[in-house]
């Protein structure tokens, strides 16, 4: 179902990128139109003990159909950045622009996938998947076929009447992926969706997400603190510094697709893992080959 309707558009939206091309820090592969722009995003949270500085002057461009992972240590503001992109939280300064229009609130072309699946426990799977349609007051009928295809694709057929508590964490997250894809958003924001899953289930889910992304050509922005997961999934890995979150470095990942779990043990892959870990440790990145300091932060 998904394959049939969207695969063609997927290939149109993501022309294959020449291998070995190293994009600059904030440039986007030129042949693709920009889907989202984060423009000098700064965020302070008010708390009882004063303001917390979560994001500092972060700018980023994301291309249509691109898979971007936002990576950083806990509390670095990566979730804050994602929630600002979703329109659920305001920025203190700066703005997010989606498809040419500034994001000031939740937008219909955005779908969000949360930590821990975030299913409503009093609804069964089917009712959970219908939830966005009820809120949007959309007739679910024309989407019925699409939803059935999605349920099939993520392997939840036969579980439609089950309640979340009767399902494993992985299955719950699959259901939330169906809920998100059901109304066909063009941009998907994922907030550490697999953080609570065990390593094997996580691998499974990563393969599933890669498959869905390849087939649908959605723009996916994926927040994680797992370096391997980020490299496995992303076109580009955006590394943030510890709080306040600033851009430390952007790593373009040119590993061939579809990627396999085996690939994550290749020397090519491990090299990027090490580079990213060093970037997180030092708050910036120096290319060992050219000794060219590509440091994205000013101290």
């Amino acid at each position: 179902m998904v394959q049939q309707t969207t695969a063609t558009s997927a290939h149109a939206a993501i022309p294959s990128r020449p291998h070995g091309q190293l994009s600059g820090i904030d440039s986007v592969p030129s042949q693709r139109p920009v889907a989202m722009v984060v423009d000098h995003a700064t965020k302070y949270y008010k708390t009882k003990s004063g303001a917390v500085h979560a994001l500092e002057d972060l700018s980023l461009e994301i291309a249509e159909g691109e898979f971007v992972c936002i990576l950083g240590p806990s509390g670095c503001g990566k979730s804050t950045l994602l929630w600002a992109m979703s329109g659920l939280h305001d920025l203190s300064n700066g703005r997010v622009v989606l498809n040419g229009t500034p994001v000031t609130g939740p937008r219909p072309e955005i779908g969000m996938i949360f930590q821990d699946a975030n299913l409503l426990p009093w609804r069964n799977l089917e009712q959970n998947i219908r939830f966005p349609f009820e809120i949007k007051k959309l007739d679910v009928k024309p989407y019925q076929e699409r939803i059935r295809g999605l349920i099939d694709e993520v392997g939840l057929s036969g579980f439609e009447k089950k309640f979340p508590r009767e399902l494993s964490g992985g299955m719950q997250q699959r259901a939330s992926i169906v809920r998100c894809l059901s109304f066909d958003p063009s941009v998907i924001l994922m907030d550490e969706p697999f953080g609570a899953l065990d390593a094997f289930t996580r691998d499974e889910m990563n393969l599933l997400i890669q498959k869905i992304w390849t087939e649908t050509g959605k723009t996916i922005i994926f927040v994680t603190h797992n370096v391997t997961e980020a490299i496995f999934l992303a076109d580009r890995v955006v590394v943030l510094t510890p709080r306040p979150g600033r851009l430390a470095h952007i790593f373009p990942i040119d590993l061939p697709r579809p990627r396999t779990i085996d690939q994550t043990f290749s020397s090519e892959f491990i090299k990027v893992v090490l580079q990213i870990k060093q970037t997180i440790m030092h708050g910036g990145f120096t290319d060992p080959d050219t000794n060219d300091a590509r440091v994205g932060i000013e101290m």
Binding site: Y45, K46, T47, V52, S79, T80, W83, S86, L88, H89, D90, G105, P106, P108, I110, G111, M112, F114, Q115, D116, N118, L120, P121, W122, F131, P132, E134, I135, K136, F163, R165, D191, E192
Partner: protein, 285 residues
């Protein structure tokens, strides 16, 4: 709500596990519904047998020791009185039900609405809660004589007393339910562009429902207690009034018949809410 989402450090879906969320023991729905009952016919038969043995034993005991009827009537006599004199009891049963149900309906609706509104305004909630607690803890039978003095022996004083007993009970439990704001679920609804009203009907209300049902059950039991108490204190009709009437005339078989009816009403309340809970709140267990 919007400010709640924006002004604090978001937890981004990290939440305390459900077993740590319940604040009072009363809020634990499973405690009320997980009372162990017969799982099959065999166990049900045994429960029935126990009743037969206890009642039969009482019957034998009363007969053998020739216990006078004013101390304790034979269970068979109670049964006979219940059957033969039911038309005597019926208008009083109806009066009690009328008072109880109308008072309860008024109290429950006000309680739920007040809880839903008040929990949106933490400051107002803080101010009002002590007074609601005062209403919960004060036996409302106490105001019946006062109300009767002002309003006469009609149903109004009893209905007011029942509403005042049931309402705060419903309210305080419902408020606990509505206070459970799961920010991640609200954010989910908001990400689809949900209005405040939709967030209430689709997220906050279902989330509060198990606690509302607990409140409704406790409120119903309190309502029944207060209805009967109010009839004892100041009424010419109702099952409570009959208790006084029959005991003053030492008609103990009739007296016990009324007690049996009250016991059945109490058990019915429990059973009804047990099934409502199973249907609407079992997701929490």
């Amino acid at each position: 709500m919007a400010s709640e989402l924006r002004e604090t450090i978001p937890t981004f879906g990290k939440q305390t596990p459900p077993d740590q969320q319940s604040e009072v023991s009363l809020s634990n729905w499973s405690a009320l519904t997980s009372a162990s009952f017969a799982q099959n016919w065999w166990q049900a038969t045994i429960i029935g047998l126990v009743a037969v043995v206890v009642l039969g034993g009482l019957e034998v005991f009363v007969r053998v020791f020739d216990v006078p009827a004013y101390t304790f009537p034979k269970p068979s006599d109670i049964g006979k009185a219940l059957w033969n004199n039911f038309d005597l009891f019926q208008p009083h049963l109806e009066a009690t039900l009328k008072v109880m149900l109308s008072g309860y309906a008024i109290g429950a609706v006000i309680g739920i609405v007040l809880a839903a509104v008040i929990t949106q305004f933490p400051f107002v909630e803080k101010i009002i809660t002590p007074y609601i607690l005062l209403l919960v803890t004060t036996p409302m039978i106490a105001i019946v004589p006062l109300l009767v003095q002002k309003m006469g022996f009609g149903m109004a004083p009893r209905i007011i007393a029942v509403a005042l007993a049931a309402g705060p009970m419903v309210m305080i439990n419902s408020a606990t339910g509505f206070r459970r704001t799961d920010l991640a679920k609200i954010a989910l609804a908001r990400s689809y562009g949900a209005s405040t009203f939709q967030i209430f009907t689709k997220v906050r209300f279902p989330l509060a429902l198990p606690m509302i049902i607990v409140g409704l059950m406790v409120g119903a039991i309190f309502g029944l207690l207060t209805a009967v108490g109010a009839e004892i204190v100041g009424s010419g009709e109702g099952l409570g009034n009959r208790l006084m009437f029959y005991s003053s005339r030492i008609q103990m078989a009739n007296f016990w018949s009324v007690i049996v009816m009250l016991a059945i009403m109490g058990i019915l309340i429990y059973i009804i809410f047990y099934w409502i809970g199973k249907r609407w709140a079992s997701w929490q267990a």
